[in-house]
Amino acid sequence: MVNLEALHDVPVVGSVPTDGAFSLLWLVIALPALGAAILLLGGRRTDKWGHLLGTAMAVGSFVISLILFFTLLGKDADDRQVTQHLWNWFTAGSYSVNFDLLYDQLSAVFLLLITGVGSLIHVYSIGYMEHDERRRRFFGYLNLFVASMLVLVLAADYVGVFLGWEGVGLASYLLIGFWQQKPSAAAAAKKAFVINRVGDIGLSLGTALIFITFGSTSFAVVSAASSHASDGALTGIGLLLLLAACGKSAQFPLQTWLLDAMEGPTPVSALIHAATMVTAGVYLIVRSNFIFSLTEDARTAVIVIGTITLLMGAIIGCAKDDIKKALAGSTMSQIGYMVLAAGLGPAGYAFAIFHLLTHGFFKANMFLGAGSVMHGMNDDVNMRHYGALQKAMPITFATFATGYLAILGIPPFAGFWSKDKIIETAFADNTLVGLCALIGAGVTAFYMTRLMLMTFVGTKRWEKDVHPHESPKVMTYPLIALAALSALGGLLTLGGWIGDWLEPVTGHAEHHELPFGMAPIVMSLIILLVVAAGVAVAWQLVGQREVPREAPEKVSIFTRAARADLYGDAFNDEVIIKPGAAGIRGLTVFDRVVVDGAAEGTATAFASMSARFRLLQNGFVRSYALALLAGAALVIFALLAVNFG
């Protein structure tokens, strides 16, 4: 047994084949995929009932997920990793990739999150997109997204993950650019896809490196063999996967697309750019725990990236007047927390996933709330035009407030349980990182309070012809459901359940010591104090003053930087896009002048040469005869030279 511990200090994906209810696993993906196919290929014929079909597919998928989950609960802990072999995808030499689905504790929670929140958002969208003539198509894309996301979390092979990874990227592209007649939306969609592709470099090369190192890319083989691999290979794989995660989860330095992605319809922002897709990076890191647990260097990189992003996101969130962008900044920041947690190794994996879940609940809740507000405000997103909506939209306000309390980490709301743990674990790992996480929590409190105050309290600053009203029930019910989850999500950690549940996947967490020997309750109190300070500052700066309808111009350099997304786009523009564009222009000229010029130049040279030579053909018979005679003379001379020379 000791030997086995030494060899396998990471959990191995050792799965059992499917049986019974688990043979329905493929259906989880197939239902939304079928929905997408019908809606997108069916054309206008499906306009009338398309949204219902789409929602039904998502709900059906959710129901199956629930059944599967409870079946899994009923199994022994050792049998909770189930693999469904569908077919052999491709084989080349010794490299064989199967279309396998892996259903274990980790994918089980993701399944519930994706199909659950997904279903709610489908329902919500029925109302939100009611007046859009392309609603059917919207539901087609949403179904496509759900299917892809499920492939991502169910795949038992890195290539399978790649399939889902790009599938969600495509769905995200289509949905961000849903209102594509708006140039800004089309540009944002393209930007998101391209930056994600930069991350994909990491995933493809990472997968390639995994194959080279282990001779396979299935989780089962890699997890079993990872402890035998060299440090260099593991670190390389870890860093490449981190690059992939950065792209998908909008982590520094590939964060700039997320704020632009808010061009998409709000349910999209809620589902894709808050609750599920953007957390795929976290999933990837946690899923690859058998790599990351073994490489200290890569984990350090993960922690650094996570910490930088959580602060960046929080700072950007402070300065945004666009309600969705403020929330997007917040999303970045919260994912930063998750990445940070994931970088902490076995101690943090479970908390990363836990925070991912709770964040999925409360952020989806708040995004949908924001959507509800926009719905009532004629799609105006500028918070400076809001104010005092508390009365006009009581349900939206109440649900939003639940989300607010959750993200702040006020007990007993969900965020408290997950975020506290991350900050605690961070402190246990490194005091500096812990401090950053703590400051992040304070800043979070500030910008969220600012958002709440500007939107729901204070004076009316509405545009003239705006008549705020509560949204229809089809929209508020999902809000209520999500609010309930935001409030009660903490239950999952009751008795450390989530940690124990995930332990077979993520590995055993060593008990950690807080610095200065603090008790966890002291830590929690400190965090609450910092949060309270953030709220207080916001109350002072925003709540006690009149909010101007136009954003003030004379602001500090920090505000200006935050408004410009900390110059992420400016940096890309100056360092990548402009030189790139100039380079391409230069290359175009090079291609025409040098490469093609060389080819055409040869042709031209021959042409001009022949233009000269043909002048010899002057039409005078006597000249030809002269040449003939000269030739004859030469021949005779040569003959003589040969014979007598």
Binding site: R614, L615, Q617, N618, G619, F620, V621, R622, A625, L626, L629
Partner: protein
């Protein structure tokens, strides 16, 4: 009777004919020079025939004459045709077939 003088004479006549073809512009004279060259070669053929002691050379000369006759007939006809259309017998005037 040595053969070399005949051959040398033949060579000289041939060269003169050649130079004539090159320098004269009147198509008729050029043609005459061509005939001169043919005759010069005939002389060589006949001389070789004698030197080798068989008549094949004479046969060859005979054929040269036949061909020359045919050539002159056609050639002069062509000159006539050209002259008729261009009012000129200069070979330089018939220089349209060029670059």
């Amino acid at each position: 009777m040595d053969t070399t003088p005949f051959i040398v004479l033949s060579a000289i006549l041939f060269t003169i004919g050649g130079i004539g073809v090159l320098t004269r512009r009147n198509a008729i004279v050029v043609f005459m020079c061509v005939e001169l060259m043919l005759n010069a070669s005939n002389l060589a053929l006949i001389t070789f025939s004698r030197a080798n002691g068989n008549l094949e050379g004479q046969i060859a000369a005979f054929f040269v004459m036949v061909v020359a006759a045919a050539e002159v007939v056609v050639g002069l006809a062509i000159i006539m045709t050209i002259f008729r259309t261009r009012r000129s017998a200069s070979v330089d005037d018939a220089s349209l077939l060029k670059y």
